[in-house]
């Protein structure tokens, strides 16, 4: 008689919450909202992961990290499913994770909407971005965008005009 040793999916979610994002190690892959589903297909554990950006080189590293972490817990029958839809959104990053990002020096995604197309256009022509991004160090909102694209696909480069520090901003997608 064989005894089924398959772990509960709740435990699996817990283990995954300890797997850090390879590029932003202060948050986990579940904090980031990229683990979309954990389920069993017969005896195979299936973990569905969605990419943040379609060409993000971290995607395959993340899959490998998940595999390694679950193997350490004794999961050998595993399949990682790459799920495209619904497309990943920064809205899936939880409040706690946003706080961790800020403490790490990365301004979390700001869901603040510009009041109107025209206001946003006027701001752009004046060289300002319509987003209010607070400096993760001194909390000043006197900040400016240096570049739409930062050190990884998910970030933009900003500068604080109060404390003069450059910082990364996790852009909304």
């Amino acid at each position: 008689m064989t005894v089924s040793t398959r772990p509960d999916t709740k435990d699996v979610w817990n283990w995954l919450s300890d797997v850090p994002d390879p590029e932003i190690p202060v948050i986990s892959v579940t904090d980031l909202g990229i683990v979309r589903d954990v389920r069993y297909e017969d005896e195979t554990l299936v973990v569905a992961v969605t990419p943040t950006y379609s060409g993000c080189p971290a995607t395959s590293v993340i899959e490998l990290d998940i595999e390694t972490a679950l193997a350490a817990k004794g999961v050998s029958d595993l399949r990682i499913e790459r799920r495209l839809s619904p497309a990943w959104s920064t809205e899936w990053i939880g409040e706690e994770a946003r706080e961790k990002l800020r403490a790490y020096g990365i301004a979390p995604p700001s869901e603040s909407q510009p009041s109107s197309q025209i206001a946003s256009r006027a701001a752009r022509l004046a060289g300002r971005t319509s987003l209010v991004v607070a400096c993760p160090r001194c909390n000043s909102t006197e900040t400016e965008k240096i570049s739409q694209f930062g050190s990884t696909p998910c970030k933009a480069a900003y500068r604080c005009k109060s404390c003069f520090e450059p910082f990364d901003y996790f852009k909304c997608i």
């Binding site: 060409g55 495209l84 619904p86």
Partner: protein, 285 residues
């Protein structure tokens, strides 16, 4: 389409949600034998264009005039190559001969490529590169927006994902065209010259042929000519802001998208891009 793209609007998000809602396990287009040749060809047109353009702009890596631009171009290249994996991956599935995205990318020769002539143009100076990018980005966003409504679930899912990224590309390239066009005399002159050179190549994006008719008939994609109005309105608004003159030339240089006549540049590009897989087939590390 707004006169200047506003990438913080909920619009893109909404389109992504809508595409996701229509998600189903089954895409009947993938098993439509009659449609197969046109569907495969059309997917190659998309995937080859993002591949060739992605490779082109990656050539700037380590060479761009300022660090921020260097990083931005590499990021855009990465996104486009990510899109390529999805488009050519699906193309391989539709074709049904077991070819992967990598095999389609690295083991076809120039005559089998269906990329836009615009994409294979050599980089020129940074003004030329950004003008090419701007003309493409405006088309790319209009096309992807339309594709989120595709009757093919698989196509709409990829489009919803890619649109989020392409919106940032257009935001950036529009901004830079305004800054360069309305910048110094020298930057204005260079961008205007690039625009005059590239315009007839850009016109290829809106030429509709029998392959397009077939996929349009199946509800998979819009006829390219229908994208012209949205493209024109955005491009014209940005050019006006940038004090640049919109070229008045409707002639379209064709042959890239239908594979009839690529320029010599594509062969050189592929020689470099495909070298490793040609010399050491199936090499991996």
């Amino acid at each position: 389409m707004p006169s200047l793209p506003d990438m913080n609007s909920t619009d893109v998000e909404e389109l992504a949600h809508r595409a996701a809602e229509r998600q189903g396990p089954h895409d009947h287009h993938l098993h439509d034998e009659e449609l197969k040749p046109a569907f495969f060809e059309w997917l190659c047109r998309l995937g080859d264009t993002t591949l060739v353009l992605g490779h082109r702009i990656s050539e700037w890596c380590g060479h761009a005039p300022v660090l921020e631009e260097d990083i931005a171009l590499a990021n855009v290249a990465l996104d486009l190559i990510g899109h390529t994996q999805m488009w050519l991956g699906l193309a391989g599935e539709v074709e049904g001969k077991g070819r992967s995205a990598d095999e389609l990318a690295f083991r076809r020769d120039a005559m089998d490529f269906r990329s836009l002539l615009l994409a294979e143009k050599p980089n020129g100076d940074i003004g030329f590169t950004l003008t090419r990018q701007f003309l493409f980005d405006a088309y790319h966003v209009a096309l992807l927006r339309a594709l989120t409504d595709s009757s093919s679930v698989r196509v709409s899912e990829i489009a919803a994902k890619a649109l989020k990224e392409a919106s940032y590309h257009l935001d950036r390239s529009s901004d830079l065209i305004i800054r360069l066009g309305d910048g110094t005399e020298e930057s204005h002159r260079r961008v205007q010259k690039a625009l005059d050179t590239l315009w007839t190549y850009a016109n290829e994006m809106f030429v509709t042929d029998s392959v397009d008719e077939a996929v349009a008939e199946a509800g998979i994609a819009p006829r390219p000519e229908t994208l012209r109005a949205a493209w024109d309105s955005h491009v014209s608004a940005v050019l006006a802001e940038a004090t640049l003159k919109r070229p008045d030339n409707d002639f379209a240089r064709t042959g890239g998208r239908n594979g009839e006549r690529h320029s010599e540049h594509l062969g050189h590009l592929l020689a470099e891009m495909q070298f490793l897989q040609r010399a050491y087939p199936d090499a991996s590390w």
